[in-house]
Each structure stands twice: as C-alpha cells, then as structure tokens.
C-alpha cells in the first residue's frame, strides 16, 4: 500500500500508547484490586474449588504467554511460531531451580512466604535463560523477514523440544516430576499484573513507539534514525523473557513437565490467542486468553471438537475479521466508566424532563 493511501485510510489509524494519567492509574488499579479480592475470597471460602483455581492459574499463564508474544508479533509485527520453545526453556529452568531450592529454603523470611522466595529466584532464572535463548535466536533471525522468520522460529521451537526430550537432566520423554507445587493464586495473579504493567509502560515509552514504528514501516522508521536491529532484538528478547516467566508459573502450577506439552501446537495455541485478540492489543490478548482457556473447559465433554473449533475460529477470523477481536484498540476502564456514567446521566435527565412535563 502506498504511503498516500495509507495516510488517507482512516482504518489505518492505530493505537499509540500514552503515559497513564493519574486518574486512570487509580481506576485501573482499583479495578485490578477488586478483581483480585473477589477471586481470592471466592477461592479462600471454597466457592471456587481446586479445579477452578487451577483453571484460573492456567488462564493467567495464557495471559502472560499471549501478552509476551504480542510484543514480538503484535507490536513488532514479526511472525514468531516458536514461543512454546521459550516457555519450555523457562519452565524447565524454573523447575530445576525449584527442585534444588525446595530442601534449602524451608522457612518463611520475614513477611515473605517461602513459596514466593523460591518463585522469585526460580522465575528470575527462567527469565534469564529464556532471554539468553531469545538473544541467541533473535540476533541472527531478525535479519529474516515475514514467513522466513516464522519458519526459523518454528525450527527453533522444535529443536528445543528435541533437546529437552534427549537430555538427562530434564528426564527426557518421561517428563520431569517432583517439582514443588508452590504456585498460589495470589502469586500468579500479581506476577501477571506486573508483567502486563511492564509491557504497557514499555509500549508507552520512547522504545515502545520505536517498535510500533518498525511494524508500520521498517524503511521509513530506519530513515528517521531508528536503530532497527537494536529495537527488533529488544522486542524479541523482551517477548522471550516474559515467555520464560510464563513457563515458570506453569511449571510450579502442575508440578510435572513433559516435552510433549511444548510442541508446535502449543506455539500455535499462543499465536491463535494473539491473533484472535487482535495483534497489537494488550487487552485483546488478555480477553482472548480468558475466553480461549475457559471455553474449552466448559466444553469438556466435547473435548475432541476443541482443536477443531480453535482452528476453524482462526480461519474464520482471518477471513471475516482479520484485525481480531480488538484490532489495535485497548479496553480502557476509565472510558468505560465514563460511558456508563454518561448513560446513567442521560437516563436521569430524561426522567427529570419527563417529570417536568407532567
């Protein structure tokens, strides 16, 4: 598409992330707190049993995975088909650290629970190894464009899977057992909140805008002095880093890891979430992660149709709504509240007017 056409078409106007204003920080934080308190009390009082709290944590994992992939695919505009590889690296690193620390750290330290301490150490390890892998793959790979990059990351994901299957320390194809199951809902929840917040802050910074400009037009952004290689690698490494953290949460949730769960299908599942949510929309990725993790659980009896539905949905979305659920828009609680407020005001006004007529 030519630049002129692009400037003229309104649909091309895309979201640029602004710095959060004070009021929206307060509103967003309070919405998050309310959600947390409601869910946490529901879990503590036993209304949501273990099965549902497990699903909740899995949803949080899906949110971390999809928002992190969104940096690479949605914002940077690169096709990444091996995100499960980073997840696997993070998950196995965290699991191995967790197993090693489980006997060492026995007591809570001051106010911090033992689970949290182990998770912080293991999670940092996971982020470290995943981001190293991201750097090693990303540096050469990002010279490639479009489908070639997709194939290369796909190859990377498969290689990670084969390596994990054949290593002894990961216990090969049988899977790694005996990982301490220390993931609690609050830890997973606040980890997710922090990840999403960091991604938002990053996207609203100078670096984030540079990354968005690369997606829109690589050549144009290069010619205005943006260091394309640097920002591409930055985006890629950030995506892999949080992908590794998602893997860490996943590892401590299930207590068991097998290489089969990190195959090409897993990468595609994460990718589908990003595409359906709208490439380049954080809230879209979150909403799609919730729907696509929860829906299959509701349809447990139709388990065999689950992937058929997934893939059919993907094709239909691409054919009829290629921009996904949210496009590049974001859900802003402040705006929603304002809308509701105006709506109520209108109704009240109408009522008052009616009243005066009578």
């Amino acid at each position: 598409m030519g630049i002129l056409e692009r400037m003229m078409s309104k649909s091309e106007q895309k979201k640029v992330y602004k710095k959060l204003s004070k009021s929206s920080i307060i509103i967003n934080l309070s919405v998050i707190f309310v959600i947390f308190i409601v869910l946490n009390t529901l879990i503590n009082t036993g209304v949501l049993n273990r099965y549902y709290s497990t699903i909740l944590v899995l949803i949080l994992v899906a949110i971390i995975m999809s928002t992190s992939l969104n940096i690479g695919t949605g914002f940077l505009g690169q096709l990444i088909l091996g995100h499960a590889g980073f997840m696997a690296i993070g998950a196995y690193t965290a699991a191995l650290i967790g197993i090693a620390l489980n006997d060492v750290i026995v007591n809570d330290f001051l106010f911090i629970s033992r689970n949290l301490i182990i998770f912080i150490i293991a999670g940092s390890g996971a982020m470290f190894t995943a981001s190293i892998a991201g750097l090693l793959v990303g540096t050469p790979a990002l010279r490639l464009r479009g489908d070639y990059l997709g194939i290369m990351t796909l190859g990377f994901g498969e290689i990670v899977r084969v390596i994990i299957t054949n290593l002894e320390i990961t216990n090969g194809a049988q899977g790694l057992m005996g990982i301490p199951r220390l993931m609690t809902f609050p830890i997973a929840f606040w980890t997710t909140v922090i990840v999403v917040l960091i991604i938002y802050l990053f996207m609203s910074s100078r670096h984030g805008r540079a990354i968005l400009s690369i997606r829109e037009d690589e050549i144009a952004s290069e010619s205005v002095g943006i260091n394309i290689t640097k920002y591409k690698i930055m985006g890629f490494v950030l995506a892999s880093l949080f992908g590794g953290l998602g893997g860490a949460v996943f590892a401590f949730q299930g207590g068991f890891l097998a290489p089969v769960s990190f195959g090409f299908i897993k990468s595609v599942e994460i990718f589908v979430i990003v595409v359906l949510g709208g490439m380049g929309s954080i809230s879209g990725a979150i909403i799609a992660a919730i729907i696509l993790t929860f829906l299959p659980e509701l349809l447990r009896e139709f388990d065999q149709y689950r992937l058929l539905l997934y893939s059919g949905l993907l094709v239909v979305t691409m054919l009829f709504r290629p921009q996904g659920l949210m496009g590049t828009k974001e859900l802003d609680p402040k705006k929603q509240i304002r809308k509701v407020y105006r709506f109520i005001k209108k109704i009240i006004k109408k009522d008052i007017n009616k009243g005066s007529d009578l």
Binding site: R143, I151, G155, F156, V162, N166, F264, F271, G312, L314
Partner: protein, 296 residues
Amino acid sequence: MDVELFIKQIINSLNTGSIYALVAIGYTMVYGIIRLINFAHGEIMMFGAYFAFIIATSIPVGLPFFVIVLVSMALAALMGILTEKIAYKKLRTAPRISALITAIGMSLFLQNLAQLIFGANPKVMPQVISNEPIMFGNIAVPQVMMYTISMSIGIMILLTLFVKKTRAGKAMRAVSQDKEAAMLMGININGIISLTFAIGSALGALGGIFYSIAYSQVYPTLGVMTGLKAFIAAVFGGIGNIGGAMIGGYAIGFIETMTKGYISSRWSDAIVFGVLILILLFKPSGILGKNVKEKV
C-alpha cells in the same frame, strides 16, 4: 565401513528423499504462484494416504495399485482446489501474514477433522504392493521402495516437461512471474492457481501414500513432521523453484537417513531443523533460489 550397509542406507535415503521431494514440490509450486507457505499441504498428504487406505480396505476386489493411487490423487487434488477456494482466495490481496495464519489454521483444522473422522489411533495400511523384496546380489530392496523411487523420478521428469513445454506450464510460469501482466495477456489466473493446487496436492498425496505403505500405517498427524521436513527441503532448494524442491528433497532425505544410520536416531530431527536454520541464516533464498532485492 560396511559397504553393503552403506548401499542400503543410500537406497533408504533415496526412498525418503523421493517422498520429501514429492511433497516439497507442492509447497514450492504454491509458493511460486501465490507467495504463500501452504501449511495445509502436509494435511492434504495425510488425507491422500487416508483416501488410499479407504479405497483399499472398503472395496473387496483387490484393485490394482495404480487405480488406488490415481483415484486418491484425484480426490486429494479436488481437496487442494477446495482449500484454496474456501480459505485462500479471499486473502490474495490481504497482508501476507493473514494468509499465512489462515494456512496454519487450515492445517490444524484438517488435522483435527481427520482425527474426528478416522480416530486418533493409527490404522494399519493394507499391503497394496507385494512385500517380497527384490534382490540385487546380496542387497534386498523392498518393492515399495522400487515403486517409490522409480515413480517419483518419472513423475518429476513429467512435471518438468509439463512446466517447460506445454501451454499451461508456460501460463503457470507467467503467473508466478507477474500476476497482473499474465492477466492482461489473457491468462485465466484462477484456473492456473487451481491447476497448481491440484498438481501440488496430487503429488503430495502420492508422497503420503508411499509413506504410509512404507511404514504400513496411517494416522492423523502423519502429515505434520513429514510435511515440515518436506517444507525444509523446499526451502533448502530455494522455495518457488521446482528443480530446487527435488534436489532439496533428496538432500534432506540423505541427511536424515545418514544421521539416523551413523550418528543418532534420537537427534536426527534436531539436525534436520538445524540444517534449516543454517540455510536460512546463510542463504535464505536456498541453493537454486534467486536473491530478490527489496524495493523501497
């Protein structure tokens, strides 16, 4: 080094190479025409194998091998045309990433459809080719391999002649070079694209049938790994280039068989993918591909 074993490995690698080459041609032809990596191609290959399985098991009269093959290839060709019409046609002008995502979706869809229809468990492929090996001196070669290698090479020669000598082949090359100019010259683009999908899918199905006979089983995920490796073969030879796909197919078959035979069977997949990454890094356009400069 054991010479007999080595010759056997060479024949094995020719066999797997033929299958990869047949499937890789489908990837490369479609890419050449509409610049799309047709991820669903591996699934068409799998369906081809299932078609042969159904025909061979449901009809009590022992049909000759060629009839089974031809009918399944025709069915697969029809399926390829339908996939294009349903999923890809609308996206011809869309951004390439959308078409690619659709292809991935289509691939998963067909795979799960097969799982629903035929069940997830592998089915035993009937022996449509006599399993009595042919002896070359001391070396026994299964008849299936003879069929696979000779038929693949024959078909590839035919395909090359078709693309180089016939009118339709010429039109195909024209469309792959410049779609709009070809249209202005009075070439029926939709027809040519359908033809490409039909030929590619038929050859893919043939590869699938040979694969399933060689391993004597059919299963819904048959197309995933084989399809990926065939795709690597297409990239190896230079995607979009038919001759490249053939060379790439035999090269990947050779690399895989030799690592399985002499290094480690557990690491062979990693090595094949490693080869892919190395090619992409150092010569992304493949052995025979041309370097395309990006226009501003």
